[in-house]
Symmetry: D2
Subunit: 356 residues, 4 copies
């Protein structure tokens, strides 16, 4: 299924080494003056090749809109756009077409569909997430009308982790270093670790923390459309994500309720909570506090070390991959995490409007 | 939104202290001879009051089917059922009707809807999950035709955790103790911890691990309907769940790709993986290995200790709750986790059938 | 599929001769004080047995709500309800269980599902529409807050047809006669015709015209969710409906554009149209004029004349039906037509709210 | 909403005078070798400018696929495609940008969205239906694997109507004349009528009859997804369609049940019906007989005669339209009717596969 969302629906299409990737955003409010520069900025954050830490594939990744805009303003019609694929080296994959790359989707796609676009993973490639970044950038612009702000950052690479709460960091400083970590001394260590892993022809994972601020009360719906459930769906739909937790997350496990309950209090005439272990969500519905969550990103399985595998013909063999791989995709995943969060929040906001 | 699933759709209804809770399961295959005893067994596992570890609310929880069955066989019509609410003490809640219980949905529901059924949390109560257990039990029966087996167990309570892989335990022994932990010595410690927390008028959390065995290759769909994304949605829709991870999960973060990649090999003519850090899913699609995941369950926020809060009128006050609360809901959540997993897998199985 | 609607979703369940029929209405706005009397009035309009023109099956058809209401007010939770089945004579059907009734769903259900609830058609019976009437009655109450009014009437029975535009009749007088025709002299003729057909052991069809007044501009959405497309879906989902037309309908065929185009004009500062061949919808979106449409209702295929058919065993045979059949279901279908129209309009209204 | 279908989902995008129109077909079975020539043939049938009977706008309408195909075979990934817009004369519309064209979507779009792409109707233009033809052509190719055949023809233009049942005509001869009528002598009369109307600067409507042959038993689902309800939705979503009827349609009204019931019989070991007033559908499910239906097409409201209307500023004025208009769009609508029917049937076929 290539569509996400109920009230604001995003459909993506395109393969890694096809002509282009693209998307259709349906249900976007009319009358929004799109800031194209801001959309391209988001794409730039995701783009590979802009530091030694990522794949050397060059993609200019400029987006072209072909529907839903008139004189720069959204019209209520579906917003369709493309990003052309450039600098493809399909020949890098030609020799791999008969082998299943370990921990990739090669085997499962072939079994599910009987055919497989083996060029760079085809539809299973993270290339597809570029389209989500565009859709998310549009959603962010709409959300910013309500002052809603979505910011993610690298909170861990390998064993190097930030230890404090997101409130202790300046999230506006995230762009200052290529690993997108708000604590410069840790950022240096992370960068060194990635370089080292890269030299080994290997890859490393990490975690991303995302904070959504200035949410109104009332987003999300009971039972199956709980805001955290929608966020979890969105995050686990991102290629390398292996886990999701919000608020106190897995750390809730060895705490007592009396330590975790968020006491209500009054502040400037508004109901607030004294702590925020709930992660801004109670009963699946936003309570006006910050929503924050954390995702685990596995190391990309594309490495240049030789690996045991099996051929399409069912024979055991050794894969020695070529191609331009990322030693760590965590920084590039940050705008994708933000984009998917933006799509979820915008969807919930549209749902919320039906109640008024 | 009170409906879950695309191909097999489950709709639930009912409030904690209303007449009943119930559900409608639409899309269930026709011709299935329902094993009523098995359904009631599942409900019994979720039922409170059967040990000193859980709430003392008595619920016989017998399910009554009113649609979709003819002479004990499913007909393809929607399967509707109820579970009557019994032993309600709405008066326990009468005195709380003007206060927002901390870390409950009282405040957010009132803000979202303008009205609130304050009796026991109304729709936000975990009472609703009984209906999921019934739907999941039906899904399990259908899945068992393919040999698919879904088993969950308590893997941690407070700081007491199982340390080994699920393969090291006998999952069929889970029912032998009230905490549903397959390692008897740990089970004893967990039980003691819950008793102690109960005596303090407090509550404690834990983790549940769930294993899905004998899955065919090809379940789940690319991009937004990845199997892990659907499982994450399902799990985070369960009331107290704060986190989800599958396969290597959050532990992937400080591993290298060369340590995590699952090498393919041939075994008895079938493509298998030598390890299973992928958790049985690659590119969002099952690869035939066991799918396994873990969820974090927070302590239920209902405790008898006094807590600071705010009244509906916006005044700070102290809540001294009565009611019959669970010191640890982890064991009771196990059949709910299995039920939601079963609904996801059955939905994916129906999707898979469209491809043939 | 037993669910209708996107923003306001109605799920129905239950079979003709099971314990009950019922439904779940999800997405109904909170804070609505339900007028139970009005809901029961709608059911009474659909109920058989209240005149010699319809089946003699007695059904008290009182509705029982079990979810979504608290102290008589909707809470935003799913509204679930039942109508118990009474006065069932399943034995009337026992002898038909081995035969396919002509122009009924017996054959297709058995082929699709492999099993069949043969008691009175089971799920295929028009008994199911009683649940739609309840859901529609709730939708109507919400719509009446905006002054929206939905009224249907019998415009033809057999060859006896009303010849004028709906504006020429007093639609509030429809309830004055059992055929629900606003023109008393035609009503008499229709009634006579039905009596005559009844005496022959046969059945007759007719048309229903429905008018939706006081709609705001802007309901319905371009392309696939055009308001007329949603109405057509809704109407053709009603058991005996064979055709749908709106505005100029099939009569547009031999008119020229210059005769059919609705010239815009200004009236009291508002944009209006001088004529309304468009049926209040342009480009799929309401323009503020009355929406009106007409549906064709076939004679119910249940008759007492002997009919050639085939047995479940594949042998040709003669069916001599018993049971209490309607010689003309048109009057009883009127509240169903209104209910489905109300569900469509309420859904479109909720969609419209997302745009503001 | 710009997406149609549940199991096979089609999303369209693009405006009449934008860069292109396009679509995404999601859920198309993998392994289908697409016959590009056949797709282009379908587009050619819809294309204007190929006879004196239609608009003179020239559109080469060649389709370009950018996703979902690998080496000419569908991969299971979403199939995305474009059709570039050519020969646009947006200046024809520049002078109309301040006026609401009667019986067009100008007024309702502006009221709904606050902005309007006035160039040729933007999104409301029938130009969008070219994308449906492509998607439908793919669906047809898949359906042809089961021998299913979908054929539509002009059954009436103005007052000139075919009088016999579709079985009396050779539907393969439809392409032989520009009005797509299988009876040559009537085709001549229709053609003359269109020429005459064209000379008056006016437009005329008609009806299209569509026949779906070789359907298996079991397509369509009870209650809200009845096959006729899905077809009605699909047809009424086509721009100029004002009515839909299937089987006996509106003619059922003055027939008796005993005249309309389709007696079952055995034929070559198969259950058949002696007549087919049911239109191949009973209880919403196909019974193996031909499905046939008829739609009413209004005259396109774009005419060159002067018309009274209102300006965007709310002032009454006279519109004297330019532009290249169709005096009769019925022939061009035929491939669109077939395409939407194909999407409905393919969706139902995929649903049917889930039951096996």
């Amino acid at each position: 299924m290539n569509t996400f969302g109920n009230y604001l629906r995003f459909t993506s299409f395109g393969e890694s080494h096809g002509v282009m990737v693209g998307g259709v955003l349906d249900g976007c409010p009319a009358g929004l003056v799109l800031d194209m520069e801001a959309i391209n900025d988001e794409l730039r954050r995701r783009r590979p090749g802009h530091s030694s830490l990522s794949s050397m594939r060059k993609e200019s990744d400029s987006v072209e809109f072909v529907s839903g805009l008139f004189q720069g303003v959204t019209t209520g019609a579906p917003i369709a756009f493309f990003i052309k694929n450039e600098d493809c080296h399909p020949q890098d994959y030609e020799r791999m077409k008969d082998m299943f790359r370990p921990s990739h989707a090669d085997y499962t796609y072939l079994m599910k569909y009987g055919v497989r676009d083996y060029r760079g993973g085809g539809r299973s490639s993270a290339r597809e997430t570029a389209t989500r970044v565009v859709a998310g950038a549009i959603a962010k612009q709409w959300l910013s009308k309500w002052g809603i702000k979505i910011q993610a950052y690298t909170s861990q690479i390998g064993h190097i982790a930030l230890e404090k709460d997101y409130k202790e960091y300046d999230l506006d400083s995230v762009a200052a270093n290529p690993v997108c970590c708000p604590l410069p001394e840790k950022a240096m260590l992370m960068q060194d670790l990635i370089e080292q892993v890269k030299n080994e022809g290997d890859a490393i994972g990490g975690t991303i923390t995302c904070v959504i601020a200035n949410l109104p009360v009332g987003l999300g719906s009971p039972v199956f459309a709980k805001l955290q459930a929608q966020l979890a769906w969105a995050m686990l739909s991102i290629n390398a994500v292996k886990g999701f937790e919000y608020g106190s997350g897995f750390q809730c496990v060895d705490k007592k309720a009396s330590e975790l309950n968020d006491a209500f209090c009054m502040e400037k005439g508004r109901v607030r909570t004294q702590t925020n272990f709930s992660g801004g969500i109670q009963g699946g519905i936003s309570n006006g506090e910050d929503v924050y969550f954390r995702v685990a990103i596995k190391p990309t399985p594309s490495i240049s070390k030789p690996q045991n595998t099996v051929s399409v013909q069912g024979e055991e063999c050794v894969l020695q991959a070529k191609g331009r791989h990322d030693p760590c995709i965590v920084p590039r995943a940050i705008p994708v995490v933000e984009a998917m969060a933006a799509l979820v929040i915008a969807d919930a906001m549209k749902q919320r409007l039906t109640e008024q």
